[in-house]
């Protein structure tokens, strides 16, 4: 319990944590607020009528974008120990390193879930306001509130833990942060669209699966198509996401328990 509070203090004292929470909320808000606008602008190229409740669900689903920044919280939480050499005092205080790591992973999971849930709820609220600006908008399905909230909590927990794993492997804080942002903002999202067979097993594809959407959109100019039926059902997606958390915790474990601390 002491270790949990100590790890929690490391996060809570760090001002950049609040910056990242704000950024996560902003990302969620902007993604949700602008998507009806973008869709109306692009109505020549894509067919996405907001009178279809499935499509309205799709707009709200943008609120789950914040996980990309939740990862960074986890990455900095861990890599900071090595970048700032605080690992020295951390492990002098608690030489049984597995206990520190367990506490850090637990704090990361809870913080990640809370931040992503908060950002998602704010984003969905913003989406509701944004949709008031358009005529003939259908109501979303009632189940999405709980589906999205659960998905947000699970995704946030998993990705913050994944961030801790990345931070243990890439110990340069800035490099680790940049690498995860490039991966999640670009590579992962592009793969989830252009290579669905593999991309559906990557975080962005799994988050899409979790939300249990029924969407089919195609872009007439690029002929790119997103069809949610190509993705996994929610339960297997959730299990694979948890698998990511297990694998990255394991990586953090093996890379931290034995090695020399500088």
């Amino acid at each position: 319990m002491n270790l949990i509070s100590s790890e929690f203090r490391k996060l809570a004292y760090q001002r950049s944590t609040y910056g990242l929470i704000l950024a996560a909320v902003a990302l969620s808000v902007v993604s949700t607020a602008f998507s009806p606008f973008a869709i109306v602008q692009l109505s020549g190229e894509i067919n996405f009528p907001l009178s279809d409740p499935n499509n309205v669900d799709g707009i709200y689903s943008k609120a789950l974008s914040a996980y990309i920044l939740v990862v960074v919280i986890g990455v900095r939480f861990m890599s900071g120990e090595f970048s700032h050499h605080t690992a020295v005092s951390t492990f002098l205080t608690t030489p049984k390193r597995h206990r520190v790591l367990a506490a850090k992973l637990a704090v990361a999971a809870v913080a990640g879930a809370a931040v992503n849930l908060f950002a998602t709820l704010v984003g969905m609220g913003t989406g509701w306001f944004a949709l008031q600006l358009y005529p003939n908008v259908a109501a979303p399905h009632a189940h999405i509130f709980w589906d999205f909230a659960l998905s947000a909590a699970l995704t946030g927990a998993v990705l913050c833990v994944v961030g801790v794993g990345v931070g243990a492997l890439i110990r340069n804080q800035n490099l680790a942060t940049t690498a995860s942002l490039i991966w999640l903002f670009l590579v992962d999202r592009i793969l989830a669209v252009i290579w669905v067979d593999g991309g559906k097993y990557l975080p962005s594809g799994l988050v899409t699966s979790l939300m249990n959407l029924t969407l089919s959109v195609s872009d007439k100019t690029t002929s790119l198509t997103i069809n949610t039926s190509d993705y996994l059902p929610p339960l297997p997606a959730a299990l694979i996401l948890v698998g990511y958390a297990v694998v990255f915790s394991g990586l953090a474990w093996v890379s931290t328990l034995r090695r020399d601390i500088e």
Partner: protein, 234 residues
């Protein structure tokens, strides 16, 4: 049982032998100087003792136990290391509170020791803006948090002003008089001459002298003895 025992401690980094079968013991309630040229293996030995680096062979024991086996490490042994970092985004006080929580030490101790090392006016500032000497004082406060019976100090006078150095000398003497065991590595031989009781000298990872200050210096100054032992020009 001595508070600190090095038993055939060897640490290799690939082909480089940083510490070569170091065997030595540190006596209780005494201040032992750990001397040697740059790169001779002092910090490496201390990091092995503190469980931060794993020895290639041999062991280093604190009260007869490996560091990782200690139940309350901070209350047993405190350390000021040459690379012990603080989070630059946290204040001095916050950095210590993080340690206090993990070690079940009341937060009030943090403020108490920050006052002791003369940092009370800076304790609410982020350590990013601390000078070298201020960081050194913060490290010392961190090492003292648990009231340990053993103190390890790796170049603690680095960056300290003359007042700080004189204060540290008296402070350490006071601790030793009340039974604290102190192992201190430093290159300030003139300063060490007045501060230590026993000496260990290490060169290229190997122990080359071990005894009381009088035994090792044999009537010379510590600096003269050091040059004689490590074969430097003078």
């Amino acid at each position: 049982m001595n508070p600190i025992e090095f038993q055939g401690l060897t640490k290799r980094y690939k082909r480089l032998v940083a510490v070569d079968s170091l065997t030595a013991s540190i006596q209780k309630g005494r201040i032992t100087g750990f001397l040697g040229p740059n790169g001779s293996g002092k910090s490496t030995s201390l990091r092995c003792l503190l469980g931060l680096a794993s020895p290639t062979a041999g062991t280093a024991l604190v009260n007869g136990m490996r560091y990782a086996e200690l139940d309350h490490p901070l209350s047993t042994i405190g350390a000021v290391l040459d690379n012990g970092g603080f989070n630059p985004a946290l204040t001095g006080l916050q950095n210590l509170k993080v340690i206090c929580t993990a070690a079940s030490i009341p937060d009030a101790r943090a403020e108490e020791f920050l006052q002791l090392v003369d940092l009370e006016s800076a304790m609410h500032r982020r350590t990013k803006g601390y000078s070298l000497g201020m960081k050194q004082r913060l490290s010392l406060a961190a090492a003292l948090l648990g009231d340990p019976g053993i103190l390890i100090l790796d170049e603690p006078t680095n960056g300290l002003d003359p007042i700080g150095i004189a204060w540290l000398r008296n402070f350490l003497r006071g601790l030793a008089d009340s039974g604290t065991t102190i192992l201190i590595s430093s290159h300030q031989l003139a300063e060490m001459q007045h501060a230590i009781d026993d000496v260990l000298v290490i060169d290229k990872g190997t122990l080359i002298a071990d005894g009381t200050l009088a035994e090792v210096t044999g009537g010379q100054s510590l600096e003269e003895a050091f040059f004689r032992l490590v074969g430097g020009a003078k």
